[in-house]
């Protein structure tokens, strides 16, 4: 039950993007196409999961004074792994995410969860937390990038769904479009959340 709650937490109540509003740099930068959003979400989830497992396992061995550098070192190791892995097996994705993969190191979502959760909780709960947070991050990224790709290019996951009559709104795939659509989505989510409370 507790594990389920740890997992569910990231999906909605403490959703990293909608509720905690952290990890926005990749959120805004790579969500111009759905495939990029999905790849970034999965890559971040993997790093989050792997580093939460390692850190909650060895948390007692790390002196308090160097915990942040230690966390970053561990996170950076997994990020470098993901970077090489994508380049070797998914070169097309690696090219389109380019330097945002190394930048996962400084995604505050990952460091934040180590500090707030993995360093205080046992391994099995950290796994549940990482899966929940990772999925919570991924679904928002995918939703946001579908909206932007659809409005900006008339396509979803690279398939043209809107016909020639549709005049693409170029702004949606530029950085400004990321802010606009994220703002509107956060607004909608807050509205839904508030309605839920009133009931």
């Amino acid at each position: 039950m507790q594990l389920w709650n740890d997992f569910k937490n990231g999906l909605w109540q403490e959703n990293p993007i909608f509720r905690l509003v952290i990890g926005l740099c990749p959120t805004l930068a790579v969500t111009n196409t759905a495939i990029n959003g999905l790849a970034m979400g999965l890559a971040t989830s993997f790093v989050l999961l792997a580093s939460e497992i390692v850190i909650s396992t060895i948390k007692k061995l790390i002196p308090n004074d160097v915990r942040i550098p230690s966390y970053i070192l561990i996170i950076a190791t997994f990020v470098t792994f993901v970077d090489y892995f994508l380049k070797a097996f998914f070169p097309a994705v690696a090219v389109s995410l380019s330097l945002f993969v190394p930048l996962i190191v400084v995604n505050c979502l990952i460091l934040g969860r180590q500090e707030a959760f993995a360093s205080k909780n046992p391994v099995h709960r950290s796994i549940a937390d990482a899966l929940g947070m990772g999925l919570g991050f991924t679904w928002v990224l995918v939703l946001l990038s579908i909206v932007r790709e659809l409005l900006g290019m008339g396509a979803v996951f690279g398939f043209q769904v809107l016909g020639d009559w549709y005049q693409p709104m170029i702004i949606m795939i530029l950085p400004a479009g990321a802010f606009i659509s994220l703002g509107i989505l956060v607004g909608i989510m807050n509205y839904i959340a508030r309605k839920g409370v009133r009931k």
Binding site: I62, V66, A76, A88, P91, F100, L174
Partner: protein, 177 residues
């Protein structure tokens, strides 16, 4: 104090070991992708050739196509943030650039990164040799190149790289401006 040093040293060592294995495992595959990418790029910038031959002349490597005296080469230079590497196809006899394809770059995503992906590269399709002028409007003459909005420096750097390559290709293969 000692404990801090030991913790970080041990973590650093484990991390370095792990990454060394990952590097050895993935690097051959990454290099292979780059090789395939290079081959595709050569055949893209040479419109009619289906095969090419690698030719070394002095310090430079050229890829000679099997038709029309088409020649391709890789040129690189500093961009806005890092090295830009461009594959360029030439027809020295006709004194023109067939087309270019950016192979590697580290330009800003969403701005300078648009040097790849066709639109900017199409500036150099069938471009006569010469000095290029980067302009912030649609081109009016054959020696103008339309800059990417918000990325004038990246645009100028690519034009400079092409100019430099033209110089090198003319030294070896001739060709009039």
């Amino acid at each position: 104090m000692r404990k801090l040093l030991i913790t970080l040293t041990v973590l650093g060592l484990i991390s370095a070991f792990a990454l060394a294995f990952v590097y050895q495992w993935t690097m051959p595959k990454i290099l292979q992708h780059q090789e395939v990418g290079k081959k595709d790029a050569i055949l893209t910038v040479l419109p009619e050739s289906e095969q090419y031959q690698e030719v070394r002349k002095g310090d430079l490597t050229f890829y000679e196509g099997n038709k029309n005296g088409e020649v391709a080469m890789v040129a690189s230079g500093g961009g806005f943030q890092g090295q830009i590497e461009v594959m360029i196809g030439f027809n020295p006899a006709a004194g023109k650039v067939y087309s270019i394809k950016v192979l590697n770059h580290q330009e800003t995503p969403g701005l300078g990164a648009y040097i790849t992906g066709g639109k900017f590269e199409s500036n150099f399709v069938d471009k006569p040799f010469g000095e290029y002028k980067v302009v912030k409007r649609p081109v009016k003459s054959a020696h103008e190149v339309e800059a990417i909005a918000g990325a004038t420096i990246s645009s100028e750097k690519v034009a400079e790289i092409v100019e430099k390559a033209i110089k090198e290709i003319r030294e070896v293969y001739g060709g009039e401006i």
